[in-house]
């Protein structure tokens, strides 16, 4: 950016190069553009003053921003600098993240971005010759063929830039995209921060400023051509600047003469130059700064964001985010990277059902808060830095509790904003202060007391095994190959117990040497951690790790994606390094190894719901689909599938808090989506919580009898060839 300015300001003397001094050169040298042609010295000096002022304003703004980030807490993301840079570069070069779920916007952005980059490289090239190589070494190259190709490429870049901007304007004005509506679901109309119209004005100012700079650039080019239409080395090569030439002919057609064009060019030159300089000066103060902040955010992306929440050092007394300075510098940078593209707003299940949460608004609220309190010279009093509360700019408690930590926002953010860790860390503070719904308090207390979320006695955990015709090994007492971590819902919930027993039979049939922890298993803690009850999570993780470490096994399997995630991704932080897989991959292997065989195939028309913790969290998209195909089912995908899967609403502890009555639940929203598939037989899930949520939603949304909700295990169970025939019918699904 800086050298875009520099291109117009020769940093080294001589400032004024007259045409005569170049007359002796051959024609190739004369095919070029003379900078500051016919400018008086004082006007060049004036331009210098404006230019350096712009740079000064820019630098001061950058300083204020950096000072703001430095007021955050430290973050360990500086490691692997080179790999991070390459990763960021690839993301930017391919525009991969920007094209997702909005191809047109991604392409338009690519036009603007690459147009901008080419124009930047172009001006940098002029600077290189004019201010460095020529004055220092007498080397020149910006003439002749090189100049002509240069002119052509930059003309095309300018066309790209303007085309991209026009599409963005069209999109804002006429497409009426809900994701570009900045009105907030967590505020009421009339609240001072409800509609965020300031952002809308800024968006338009940005688009208009950039398009004006581009357009006046072309106009300037055209005016120069008309002005110098008598100069052969300019006029004869005009078609190398096709847009400029076209416009020049139009101007001449309208009767503009060389002299008029010269005057017009002079006025326009100042307009274009000052506008461009103002644009640059304002970068750190406006949304334009995303050029830097988004790159930085992408560079410091944490691939484990949300999947592995940050641990709290034992000696650290404070927990969670209370004040704006409790955010790390990287999180503060994240806030500034947001361009309000609305992808998270659109993907969020809480927002979709009208809960008072939009991940975008949490980020923007915190950003506005940071800009207000951390940009001043002196840091305000601590009390003024509290981000929790009901005031303008603060984040509501209801907003934080609405989050289901499904990671839809983190996953789709094109600039690597990590919303969920921020939300959970803010919840940690609420929990620390005791602000928690009474019903959730009871669950947390039950988990602490009984090790499970169902308020059941520890002794009841293995009771589901009693109805099995065989005994499962007690892995605490004898070595096993596979340790089965069952999880709360699969152990205690009567409907899920049916599935759990089916899975036991499948493993037995396949000859897997497996065992359980019986009463010693505790809630794995995944959702407790996402509630923000970090102390209880530490207790659960440590208890399970110490139990598991006393046992002799090779790997863990679980039917519960939530347990799967925390054991796989978070237990290592507590010293628990275990190999773990979700049942879908184990079953797939057992079929591949021939240990399970099909006795029949199914002709169901089915759809599959990706559980957040298996899909988005752990990229387990394929194994369940391969199993479904293996069974012979016809799989019809819902619109929102794989990484865009729509949360059932149970995550982040929300399964323990009843959703408000009267508004649609996320699970019902999902049922509505599934019901659009014609002649759907089965809605397949692969998570115990999903089974509970969706069987309920099937009824409340009014689709009972139209299709059924089943665990994938149940379908596998229907098809597998069992040695003991009577076992198959022993457990008929009654739900």
């Amino acid at each position: 950016m800086l050298s875009m300015v520099a291109a117009h300001i020769p940093l080294a003397q001589p400032l004024c190069i007259s045409q005569e001094s170049r007359c002796v050169m051959n024609e190739a040298h004369e095919i070029t553009r003379i900078l500051f042609e016919d400018f008086s010295n004082w006007s060049i000096y004036l331009f210098y003053v404006i230019g350096y002022t712009a740079i000064g304003i820019f630098l001061y703004g950058v300083y204020v921003q950096i000072r703001k980030y430095r007021r955050g807490k430290p973050d360990a993301s500086w490691g692997e600098f080179f790999a991070r840079f390459v990763d960021m570069f690839k993301t930017m070069a391919t525009h991969r993240t920007l094209k997702r779920r909005d191809k047109s916007a991604g392409r338009a952005h690519a036009l603007i971005f690459f147009g901008f980059v080419l124009l930047f490289i172009g001006t940098a090239t002029i600077t290189l010759e004019y201010d460095i190589l020529e004055p220092l070494f007498g080397i020149t190259f910006w003439y002749g063929d090189f100049y002509l190709w240069f002119s052509l490429i930059l003309d095309l870049a300018g066309v790209g830039l303007i085309a991209g901007l026009i599409y963005m304007m069209y999109r804002r004005k006429w497409l009426k995209l809900p994701k570009l509506d900045y009105a907030r679901p967590d505020r009421e109309p009339g609240d001072p921060d409800y509609d965020r119209s300031g952002y809308r004005r800024e968006d338009w100012a940005f688009l208009w400023a950039l398009i004006l700079i581009g357009f006046t650039g072309f106009l300037l080019e055209a005016a120069r051509l008309v002005w110098l239409s008598e100069t052969a080395t300019v006029w004869d090569y005009r078609w190398w600047s096709p847009i400029g030439a076209l416009m020049a002919h139009m101007m001449m057609g309208l009767g503009m003469g060389a002299e008029a064009a010269g005057n017009f060019r002079l006025g326009l030159w100042w307009f274009h130059g000052v506008l461009a300089l103002a644009f640059i000066a304002l970068i750190p103060y406006t949304k334009v700064k995303h050029i830097f902040t988004a790159s930085g955010s992408l560079m410091f992306r944490d691939p484990m964001a949300g999947k592995r929440l940050p641990s709290v050092p034992e000696d650290q007394e404070d927990i969670g985010i209370k004040t704006i300075t409790d955010l790390t510098w990287k999180q503060l940078l994240n806030l500034d990277a947001c361009t309000k593209c609305g992808r998270c707003h659109e993907a969020c299940p809480a927002n979709a059902v009208g809960a008072p949460l939009s991940p975008r608004d949490v980020i923007l609220s915190l950003r506005e808060f940071a800009n207000k309190s951390l940009q001043s010279k002196e840091l305000p009093e601590k009390a003024e830095l509290d981000v929790h509360g009901k005031d303008v700019g603060q984040v509501f408690m209801e907003t934080l509790w609405s989050c289901r930590t499904c990671l839809a926002c983190v996953e789709i953010c094109p600039v690597a904003v990590e919303h969920v860790p921020i939300i959970v860390q803010m919840r940690r503070k609420l929990v620390d202060e005791g602000n928690m719904e009474p019903i959730l308090q009871k669950t947390m207390q039950s988990i602490h007391k009984n090790g499970n979320s169902m308020n059941e006695s520890k002794r009841k955990r293995p009771r589901w095994t009693k109805e099995l015709p065989f005994t499962i090994k007690d892995a605490r007492k004898e070595p096993v190959d596979v340790m089965w971590f069952v999880g709360d819902y699969a152990s205690f919930d009567p409907r899920n117990q049916v599935v759990t027993r089916s899975f036991a039979r499948l493993m037995k049939q396949a000859g897997v040497d497996f065992g359980l922890l019986y009463e010693a298993e505790m809630n794995a803690g995944n959702d407790v951690r996402r509630v923000g009850e970090e102390g209880l999570y530490e207790f659960l993780a440590n208890a399970n790790i110490s139990t598991l470490e006393k046992c002799d096994f090779n790997s863990i399997v679980t039917t519960d994606p939530h347990s799967f995630n925390t054991i796989r991704n978070e237990y290592p932080d507590f010293g628990g390094e275990f190999e773990i897989q979700h049942y879908t991959t184990l079953l797939k292997q057992l079929f591949e190894q021939g240990k399970l065989k099909l006795s029949k195939k199914l002709d169901y028309r089915v759809t599959f719901h990706d559980p957040c913790h298996l899909g988005r969290y752990n990229k387990g998209y394929d194994a369940p689909r391969e199993l479904i195909k293996l069974l012979g089912c016809e799989l019809i995908e819902m619109d929102r599938n794989r990484d865009n899967s729509f949360c059932c609403g149970a995550g982040g502890g929300r399964i323990w808090i009843p959703d408000p009555v009267g508004i649609e639940k996320p699970s019902e929203n999902r049922m509505r989506e599934a019901a659009e598939i014609e002649e759907l037989d089965v809605f397949i899930v692969s998570c115990p919580k999903d089974l509970t949520m969706f069987e309920d939603a099937l009824k409340t949304a009014g689709y009972e009898g139209k299709f059924v909700v089943k665990e994938l295990i149940e379908l596998v169970n229907e098809c597998v060839e069992f040695d003991e025939a009577e076992v198959i019918d022993a457990d008929v699904v009654s739900a």
Partner: protein, 264 residues
Amino acid sequence: MKILVAVKEVAALDEDFEIRDDELDVDEDFLLYDLNEWDDFSLEEAMVIKESSDTEVEVVVVSVGPERVDDILRKCLAKGADRAIRVWDDAMEGSDSVTIGRILSAVVEKEKPDMVFAGVQSSDDAAGSTGISLAASLNWPHAAVVAGLEYQPGSNKAKITRELEGGLSQIVEIDCPSVLTIQLGINTPRYASLRGIKQAAAKPVDEISLADLGLSDSDVGVDAALSRVRRMYIPEKGMASMIEGTPAEQAAKLAEIIREFKGE
């Protein structure tokens, strides 16, 4: 300004519990202990007063019981209580609510609080009399089943709302200091996070003995109690039966049962 909150560790039954051989209580192996639910609310009420007051308010929790009671006191400390006191002597075993009220009154004499809160009742014994007998021992004003409270720290009057039967409420002005027994729902109790409880483990719980309170063995325990448990048991179930037959037969049978109950 000081508020004393009397709390109790209550026992909940585990499933498949057994009655002790002497038939006086449930076998301790089957009991799960926790803070009495009502006390969550009375502590919260004290905390709300503390937090909204301009003057310094000290919230002290007190409980009568053996060492395991420290767990619930730590929970109270985690929720923000300033100090915790546990009164115990083996001689106190078998005390009834009147005796406990006497012990607590000795604590009040020592601590000299401006207000005393207790729960309406405990969820295990459900006698609903400890707070009131404490007020009687002290000869202080008292109000039971308080569902709303307006009180300025240091003021000599408090305005309370009491819950009456039949959906009625009663607003009462009471002289302070007084003993209030607090009803569920008066506020929303806060959560004691596990980290908070862990950190509270570092805070001391003052242990007070009989001698510290100027009481003797004969003032407490089963012999001083005015009531004694004679037997605890699970009542027979199966009192309901299904009346079979045609509607006419059912009606006849029903009439017969009614006549039998009327003693005809």
